[in-house]
């Protein structure tokens, strides 16, 4: 009843959502431990259930937000990078035969994926990547994140989108040849 693409997108969206949340929390924990930032941990504040971490001053808050947002962006970029590598080198529609035989010989043929799966994955990861860039930009404008992170994020997202567009173009060319 539900369009298969919608179901597929929901299916693919769960892992990136979890990865971003974990990366944000991990980034916060690491920066607090590494820089020994004083903080308060309040339970039951966020959505009346989840905890909130409060920092004593704006400087500590800026450092913690910046590094945790960087960790979150890194998770989004890493996921998008993995999917793009898979789409470029391990795309079942246009994989190099030598590469295919190498995958079989190393028993990692699971890396090979069809367009339907890859493009749904890539779409989701790129949506998350661009939303993370937007998040970084908004936080930069509200002076709660270093601007360098937003700028680097924007450049990376543009490049990844370009690589993805190249792969889509290759796929369209292949389909039109057939």
């Amino acid at each position: 009843m539900v369009v298969s693409s919608v179901t597929k997108l929901i299916d693919e969206a769960i892992l990136p959502a979890s990865a971003l949340i974990l990366a944000k929390v991990a980034g916060l924990v690491l920066v607090i431990l590494a820089l020994k930032l004083p903080y308060q941990f309040e339970l039951g504040t966020l959505f009346k259930v989840l905890p909130v971490i409060k920092f004593e001053n704006a400087q500590d808050y800026l450092i913690a937000e910046s590094y945790s947002n960087l960790a979150m962006f890194t998770a989004a970029a890493a996921g998008a990078f993995f999917v793009l590598i898979r789409a470029h080198f391990f795309h079942s529609s246009h994989i190099n035969p030598k590469m295919h035989s190498k995958l079989i010989s190393f028993n990692i043929e699971w890396l090979l994926a069809p367009s339907y799966h890859l493009y749904h994955q890539a779409l989701i990861w790129l949506i998350y990547l661009w939303l993370t860039v937007g998040f970084l930009i908004v936080h930069t404008l509200t002076k709660s994140t270093y601007p360098q992170i937003a700028i680097a994020g924007f450049v990376i997202a543009v490049n990844f989108s370009w690589v993805f567009a190249l792969d889509v173009q290759k796929e369209i060319n292949l389909t039109s040849e057939i």
Binding site: V6, A17, K24, Y61
Partner: protein, 151 residues
Amino acid sequence: MNLKNILAFLANFSGIVVLILIIALPFLLANRIVKVAGVKTTVPYLISSQIEYFPNVSLSQEGQIYSLTYSKTSPSQLFQSLLILTNPTGSTQNYNLVTVNGQDQLFLGVDPKNQIIKIALPSGASTPISLLSDDHKSSQKSKLDFSIGVD
């Protein structure tokens, strides 16, 4: 439009809504999980002075007692909005004006015909404090001491 089509529409609509929620969730959490602690005020009230608009009026404070020193220009004089009382706390507070020393009438608000000395102020709200002197004495320096009680 039969039932099957309606259900299909609803199912797909719900699917899109779920997808948007899943995509938005990390950003909603990331935006709210870190805060900076604000300056916590322990002061139950704030007094703002407007005596610069009134000639011959001065204000001083010693501890919780405020002293107004003033000279009238007529036998009966109303000093409207001499001071502003503000509630800086996060909840409604009950204040009362206590005249410690002085002959004149200090009250909350600006209407001398409706002199109130007790008020419940919501969080962030303000009320003026006015002074009515009608003891018909000639112009001379008068003094009134008062404090703000908080229930």
